[in-house]
Symmetry: C2
Amino acid sequence: MKRIQVGGKAIGRSGQPLICTPVIGRSRAAVLDELAALLPKAPDLIEWRVDFFEGFGDIAAVIDMAREIKAAAGTIPVVFACRAMGEGGGFSALNESDVVKLYVAACVSRCIDIIDYEMSNSPVNVAMLREVSRENGVAMIMSYHNHEFTPSDEELSGRFIEAEVLGADIAKVVVMPKGEEDVLALLSATLKASRVCGIPLVSMSMGGLGTVARVFGWVFGSSMTFGFGKHCSAPGQMSIEELRPVLASVQHAVYGG
Amino acid sequence: MKRIQVGGKAIGRSGQPLICTPVIGRSRAAVLDELAALLPKAPDLIEWRVDFFEGFGDIAAVIDMAREIKAAAGTIPVVFACRAMGEGGGFSALNESDVVKLYVAACVSRCIDIIDYEMSNSPVNVAMLREVSRENGVAMIMSYHNHEFTPSDEELSGRFIEAEVLGADIAKVVVMPKGEEDVLALLSATLKASRVCGIPLVSMSMGGLGTVARVFGWVFGSSMTFGFGKHCSAPGQMSIEELRPVLASVQHAVYGG
């Protein structure tokens, strides 16, 4: 699997998962507060969840906020993500065409490093955003979210591969387990895909049961895990403070400490 | 799955894995040193690995040592385990019939709480030790160790069930993974067996790769994990000090902290 560089950060299987921290403030002030709280915790990446931002309907307000986030984040790469309600999104009521315009504006502004876009959206939009992001030097995560259940191992592997075929820089699969076997299916699918895909993978199993994937996903080929700074953005997320020492201990054990 | 009581300690799936700590001192002095170092760390159980003890050929010396261990351990249950070389044992060169005599003496002395005996030994010996242990109020773990590789998911589930059929109080499966999929097979087998077995299960995947099973096995039905006090007794074991905060953090996350 190839490693990619985004804003000076290497993303890709390296035996050490990157910690990405979501920013989900509703107002500009809340976003700045959140950044002030989480930046000292030195996450590897920041994911701005635009769908939680009250200004999401105003492109200029969104780009202004993105610029402020980027300025605060410094060398930490910023992921721009706007999820629909069905993908676990915030209170965004934008239609898909408005969401696409936001993504385009974010790419063109070049004040974010990565966009994260759902691969099940219209193929025309996926292809267009792939082109616009590439032209502007912005990396693209193509993601598959399922907040209801965990599809089969085979279907999940297929999603990673689909993202690569569609031209993603990073393939991401996030699913909800209903039982312990679903977590094993997600890990198994990640492992299998990691052996055939040429791009970095990110996978996550949500909720309490999914904790094993948040802590050990990197052993099975996931390049990134999520830890919250101030507010949790998905069920089962651990805080950076809890996650970091756990990751350090288990890495020590895995590498024969 | 039923929970069992051993020396006042509840063993069985309860959403919280017990930490068992091995004692592998070669001499009486080394064993006492080890106990002095590990008892303040409050393990849930102690496993005395008799095969590492230089006096293993002398039944009286073994029983004297067991009495001293039990006296030091107080209310912490003591597991008596003598593994052959092929099962990851120490330097024991006893033949099976001498080993069985040691186990019988340990049961009759009633100074240990649990014996751990390999289920692949002669069925006559397994049945006899089951009887002797039961008559003396000693619990019996029937175990399957494979230090070479990890058999299939189905074979591993079968081992847990076999132990229950043979009358074990606890079924234990410890295997060596060659790849990440082997760890998933062990977890999957534990999960499946936990849904059909009526006795507590213990499972472990060794080495660095197996760390995920040491930390998260309890989510998939394993009642016990191993953490060392002073010396590691199997590849991949974490120390109690490392293991305990990791278990606390991941339990917090699993239960929706």
